[in-house]
Symmetry: C2
């Protein structure tokens, strides 16, 4: 298979500043890929709190199992991530590979293995050659540096066509803190399933319980509002590390208003990364925003928006640059949520094409046609029932998706 | 766009015998297509009972609205079906087009318009030119014949690549009755959404309430167990007409054992037609059977089976003839149903590839590879939890699907 061209919606990796208390880097462990980095490590200062959110898939990978247990301690000293092998559906050997990796990192750094977090992404059902990781780790540990963010963003890629990262500044009291994040998106390995990984670090000093609540809340409006193909990975992982190295007013145990700026910046950062993932969806040529309003409530709006965003008929129509609002109406109707055909309105690119159960007579098609030719498509649906709103993002369904996912493993 | 080649899984239309009390035929009304029939009518003897099951889509077409009301009377004298325009999302004008069509047929046959059933399939959001139908109806009515089943099967096609029909014989008491059915499957019109229509007739004399219950039950194990792309049409309609012209023991009002043979034959017939629809799924090159066993209960098994059958990653892997059991495990896990990774077993083509959370060491890949190259693929999943079972059918996701659904309307 020829190399996948870079997504037309790619955005450049921003300059990502150091975070006090974080050193990181990448190396080539030769797990699957040749001639590129595939092993990433981050080391965190003592006292780092960690929050995590994981896949809801009932068949999670061994690293997800490991992290769920590790998270109970609330503290992190390191993160080790490999690309090329997901260590999923590998039974007892998979759990042992995870434990061996964490033990090796813990020994190198001099902290408990249970404070080492893990993530793996790549082919599933193959045993992870963890000795390649443990062999490469000592050299990697020696090379860790506060300025390693771009290297780390590249090292966790699988078939991502561009590296994904973001940075924000937030205020706590009178002081400024930094939040950095890197992510990898829907890629296949020779080929395999899409996997989303996201690692965020900040120098803020935030109690673990508060950190976990904020992370969960921010994910609800960022990563949980995107979909490439409705398939939930076995490895999805978002981890947020707070080193506490910044000097700022003490954050009370219950959080509160002092974190307003931080919470906003965190949500913005995760949202930015989530959109980068969609911009690099397998085969994607269009970034699609779906706004639903007028639903019975917010939950209903989200379900309707996801029904549109996951509809193969809607996604193929957009790939064909066809503003086929009939398929959008179909997707609204199949969502199983309260909807009244005769109150439904649909707009594409800001032009209302259908209202009150029928086509808008003589609407101007020219701006819609022009909008569809671009790389960013906006769909708005008003159900005319209540005040529920939701926005989700997806990408189109193209021949590229079939090419990437329909090839033989080899 | 070049003409779509006939599906490699096509089956020939069987010889469909006459049903006493049914006359039918097709004509070219020029609604959208040139050089082919696109208008079908069936006329039923006085005393015909009717049962119907319709789309669960909340934005149904005008003919579905019409039929739901007509069904309350329980009696049918005619069915009028057009291909090329779905009369969906057409507002008040759509309801008027339906009423005008039914009125014209009723006037020709001398029965109430409310005993005329309707179905439309094709592009949505465009007004149905019902005067083309009412103009063509008189000639069509004159040509109706008991032997018109094959013509009718062809006349309701949209982008179906082969005509779909089936016939069965059942016994009621000592007597034999016939059940015929025709269906159309997932087609697009230039292009538009998939629509499933199925019309069944029998000469049996069965009380309407019993007929409705039997139809609903048979659909649960036939049409409700297939999926092409998870998109629920606005027009899905199954109608069952029982003319009561056969001479057999009286069926009691509550039905009962006397209908065992009929119920079995009806289920078989609908199952046969449902599989023909999948064999002609848009772009399909493989018919896929998904068997789930060992689930907590039957409902859970069905949801897991549908999660597999609707997974784009599973469907593209099968298109690529790749027995990628890891994606099947992913789909099991994302279904949200009780599942234990470490009790899960997966087979393709009868060969168990994964058991107890890991790959089966040294399983023989050769028969699996051979199986994947065929046009019929069997997936079996055992969850190892309980006694719940379900089987569903789907097709693969290929470039053909993108071609058909990603083109401009024109």
């Amino acid at each position: 298979m020829p190399a996948t061209p870079v997504s037309p919606m790619a955005v450049p990796l921003p300059v990502i500043p150091p975070i006090p208390g974080v050193r990181l880097g990448a190396t080539a462990a030769g797990i699957r890929y040749a001639g590129r980095t595939d092993l990433v490590a981050m080391e965190f200062a003592a006292g780092t709190n960690v929050a995590g959110v994981f896949t809801s898939n009932k068949c999670p990978g061994a690293p997800v199992d490991w992290d769920r247990t590790a998270l109970k301690g609330g503290r992190a000293r390191a993160l080790v991530v490999n690309a090329g092998n997901a260590n999923v559906f590998t039974g007892k050997a998979g759990a042992e590979a995870a434990a061996a990796t964490a033990a090796a990192a813990g020994k190198l750094g001099g902290y408990p293995a249970r404070q080492v977090f893990l993530a793996s992404t790549g082919v599933i059902g193959e045993l992870l050659p963890h000795e390649k990781i443990t062999t490469a780790l000592p050299g990697l540990y020696e090379s860790l540096t506060p300025s390693g963010w771009a290297d780390a963003a590249r090292g966790i890629m699988t078939t991502d066509t561009f590296a994904k990262g973001a940075t924000r500044t937030a205020q706590i009291g009178e002081s400024f803190v930094t939040i950095n994040g890197i992510a990898k998106g829907s890629g296949m390995i020779a080929p395999d399933m899409a996997t989303m990984l996201c690692f965020v670090a900040t120098d803020a000093k935030i109690p673990q319980g508060v950190l976990q609540r904020m992370l969960r809340k921010s994910i609800a409006s960022s990563f949980n509002c995107i979909t490439v193909d409705s398939d939930t990975s076995t490895s999805d992982t978002v981890l947020l590390f707070a080193t506490g190295q910044a000097r700022h007013k003490k954050v009370p145990a219950e959080g509160g208003k002092i974190l307003n700026s931080f919470a906003l910046a965190l949500t913005e950062l995760l949202h930015d990364l989530a959109l980068q993932v969609i911009r690099d969806g397998e085969g994607a040529q269009k970034l699609i925003r779906v706004d639903v309003s007028g639903a019975a409530n917010a939950k209903s709006a989200k379900r309707v928006a996801m029904a549109i965003a996951n509809s193969p008929l809607v996604k193929t129509a957009i790939a064909g640059e066809d503003a086929n609002w009939g398929r959008i109406a179909m997707a609204v109707g199949k969502a199983g949520e309260p909807a009244d055909r005769d109150k439904l309105s649909i707009a594409v690119g800001g032009v209302w094409m259908a209202r009150a159960g029928g086509v808008v007579e003589g609407y101007d098609e020219a701006p819609v046609v022009a909008h569809m030719k671009g790389h960013e498509v906006e769909i708005a649906v008003d159900l005319g029932l209540g005040r529920g709103r939701a926005t989700v993002w997806t990408c189109d369904l193209t021949h590229g998706y079939i090419d990437i996912n329909g090839s033989y493993r080899s």
